[in-house]
């Protein structure tokens, strides 16, 4: 049985278009402001994501305390002055004093990447939603725009963790806390962005087929 009710009516499409534009602008402005704010914190604390190797973790936590319950500040015996490690259930954050401008810039550039990604995605989605609102979903260019959104999702999913890892590497290098000390930069690729990218690419392909069908129907009398 055909479902004749629209999943996104013209009115909702109009509302979503406005929301997408607002989210894009807020993400862009907010991420740039957050990044610039980080630059003003040079010589203060910088926080980066790291991973602690197992022997060092055991040395710090001989009783095998359950770290997953709360964020815990680890003992500083093995760390230089002004350096702290905070363990959260799914991440370890290293905080270091006396940061450089480059460290601050790199430590927050992942947020900048996400912000630009959201802004670019919303800029690409706006005309697609607008054509949905006008009842012409298969206007030329929509398939390319949706495929562009998929590309942006993949790029952000790859670049944001890479930037975090680069920031951690730079900070660890300054503190001389490389592998021998048991602390390493954390680069954990999330699977979700790539799953979403695959889904959005499938939507893009549907749009491409739709554009072909629209061209066929346009010349039909």
């Amino acid at each position: 049985m055909n479902d004749t009710r629209p999943y996104l009516s013209s009115g909702w499409a109009s509302l979503v278009t406005v929301l997408v534009v607002v989210v894009g602008v807020v993400a862009l402005v907010g991420s740039v402001a957050y990044w610039i704010n980080g630059l003003t914190h040079a010589q203060a604390n910088v926080t980066v994501s790291v991973q602690v190797q197992q022997p060092l973790a055991q040395a710090w936590n001989p009783q095998g305390t359950d770290w997953s319950s709360d964020s815990v500040l680890l003992p500083r015996t093995a760390l230089p002055d002004g350096v702290g490690l905070h363990v959260a259930p799914d991440s370890v954050a290293l905080t270091a004093w006396d940061s450089t401008l480059l460290e601050q810039a790199l430590a927050r550039v992942n947020v900048l990447v996400v912000g630009f990604g959201i802004a670019l995605g919303s800029w690409l989605l706006r005309p697609v939603l607008r054509s949905l609102e006008l009842g012409r979903p298969f206007d030329p260019g929509n398939a390319r725009r949706v495929a562009g959104v998929a590309l942006v999702i993949a790029a952000v999913g790859l670049l944001a963790p890479a930037c975090s890892a680069l920031a951690a590497t730079v900070v660890l290098s300054r503190l001389d806390l490389g592998d021998p000390a048991g602390v390493a930069a954390s680069w954990r690729l999330e699977l979700l962005p790539f799953l979403v990218m695959a889904l959005v690419l499938a939507v893009a392909e549907s749009f491409r087929r739709g554009e072909q069908m629209r061209e066929d129907v346009e010349g039909l009398v």
């Binding site: 061209e215 010349g219 039909l220 009398v221």
Partner: protein, 78 residues
Amino acid sequence: MSGDESAEPHRVRCRLDVLLEERSLTLTELADRVGVTVVNLSVLKNDRARAVRFSTLTALCDALQCQPGDLFVVEPAP
């Protein structure tokens, strides 16, 4: 790129203008009889159509008292 540019080339020519003249009919009158918009009939008459529904073809042939072969000709290859 316009729709016409992206269309596959063909050599089918519509003789609707000739048939209309022979029957002293206007495009608007034919549109009323056939139940197809003037815009679509104009597309057909000016060889901009890429496909014709059998229902449209039947209605046109009924209204013009002709056969599909009277409506369309295929030009010889260049």
